[in-house]
Symmetry: D2
Subunit: 187 residues, 4 copies
């Protein structure tokens, strides 16, 4: 059970979105994942915790300082045997094949789609996370051009509730937007 | 990677909610879970897929006909070694201890909270899923009375988007409510 | 066209909710309205602007200091001929009859329902605005007990969007809850 | 108080959106409005009811059969003295000036923005209602090019609640999207 306080940067993907990426693709123990733009490694660790020792997460991060931070967070979570941080530009292609899930969470994610397609097994998933509608559109259309089937694009509004003896109501303010999640599948 | 079309009943928990239960508790490979009110076994299989062979899901279902259906779905998903369907009333107590997560998704979930507390390890999670606000309140207050710390209660609105060359917009109609998820933790 | 910057207190009803109160009851020029708990007079002025010179808003506010503030805001909006601020406790009953709309936006709104019923014309509306679910329930059940027909209870999530050449997306944070609006109608 | 059952077409603007158009612009008794694409006249009647006898709604509808339907609905609502249905193409320009509010709710609304700008008084509002994000963007950018100030673009999710003695919860399914409302103002 993941229970580590990791250092998080401001642009990191949130638990609600990470949960939906894992849940809507059916990610489970033993799966093989490629994660791009590791950043602080938060999503990497989240995914690594699910796939466990029988699975593997290959995390591509071209900026050495972020790769180092991600590495630290992976160790803190005790996932050294599961997660591999690769200091490498995903634009140059992925080294792996027969992957179950590729997550693309970086600028120009749409340019990485042919590489993702090549790395995935048949039936494997590619999920893009972008903040703007135009980016989601670009991602989906590029994905279809690369041979993917577009399963769905979603956004999630999660409201926190105050639950108290004296009365229940949602919190007054909160996150109303993080990003759009687009789910593509290799036929 | 979970990819089975299971037979689902009408009241079954949805992927968005199952995703948040797993994601917000940090569920991962190797964890031990108790699931109540298996019903068709959909949530059971979802959780079993995440915890994998090194983990275990004990699923309590007192109605033999549902237990049988759940059993079939578990086999279909190839999770016989991971999931155990127990034809037993959760109100009589759980046989296990040192559990990481207990999910309560049945009428009178609040009455099962002391049993959940006893079965959990320190730091373990108990998540209740109920459709009405009053039930969420009852669940949270009963949880606090049983010794739990109330971490959060949430609800998720997930919108499906149409993403097309000619224009992007959310679907016009959709689910606007399923249930409230309350996350309790054993101190 | 209303275009006055009024002084607003923290608990005041927001434009989105005021809009729905007016729009869902079909409020228009010439209508007669009773408003309770004037506070700063924001809702009073909003309603007065719609009903205009041929209509009337009777605004009950028992706290003299708030009545004075509301009075100032009414003058600022040029609605002296339309709105009447009454320094009077609504619990003691309303002086008017044949009213089209009564808005109840104060603690213990449910206790004022019989008074609202008496003041309304047949087919007239009573709208309650409360932050908690329990209050909405109390309001609706008390309304039905007082002879009203419960038409609907709603809540509105209004998202502000960033619309820019370089990309469109909802604002990241915002209001996710203000209150529940319950619409009752005199048969 | 508006209380007429009008015949409504499928694409008509909904009460929640009409409410926000009126409420967020501060529309009131005595205001002058231009409405385009009358369709069945639902929005026309809604606006006419608010501005009343001292105000006026000029409703442009180039398709004679729709103008006729709108005319009928206006009569049914008793607003003949307030609303004028003009069988005329808005693309050819508006005949009026010093207007308080122009609503654009038709295909190619963005092309009508210079005409709207010319018809409005200083400080007047132009509101566009479109279903797709790309249309909202086009509308806002064309509005800015025409000299307008972009105040806000919003979308509203209104949830209906079941409020009952035995438990409160939002309805399970409902509208999750209708359109984006863009508010422009003449400086």
């Amino acid at each position: 059970m993941l229970d580590v306080k990791l250092k998080r940067g401001p642009q990191v993907i949130l638990p609600k979105d990470a949960s939906l990426i894992a849940g809507f693709t059916g990610l489970g123990a033993g799966d093989k994942v490629i994660d791009t733009g590791a950043g602080s490694g938060w999503l990497t660790v989240f995914l690594g915790n699910i796939v466990g020792e029988k699975g593997h997460v290959y995390s591509y991060e071209k900026r050495p300082e972020f790769a180092e931070l991600a590495e630290k967070n992976v160790k803190k979570a005790g996932l050294e045997g599961v997660v591999e941080i690769k200091v490498k530009d995903a634009a140059l292609g992925f080294d792996e094949t027969e992957i179950d899930l590729v997550t693309l969470d970086c600028a120009d994610s749409d340019l990485l789609l042919p590489n993702a397609f090549a790395a995935l097994r048949k039936g494997g998933w590619c999920v893009g996370y972008v903040p703007h509608v135009e980016q989601a559109k670009k991602f989906v259309l590029a994905g279809e051009a690369a041979g993917f089937f577009h399963v769905r694009t979603i956004e999630a509004i999660v409201r926190e509730w105050l639950v108290r003896e004296r009365g229940c109501r949602p919190e007054n303010t909160g996150l109303v937007h993080t990003g759009f999640l687009s789910f593509l599948r290799k036929p």
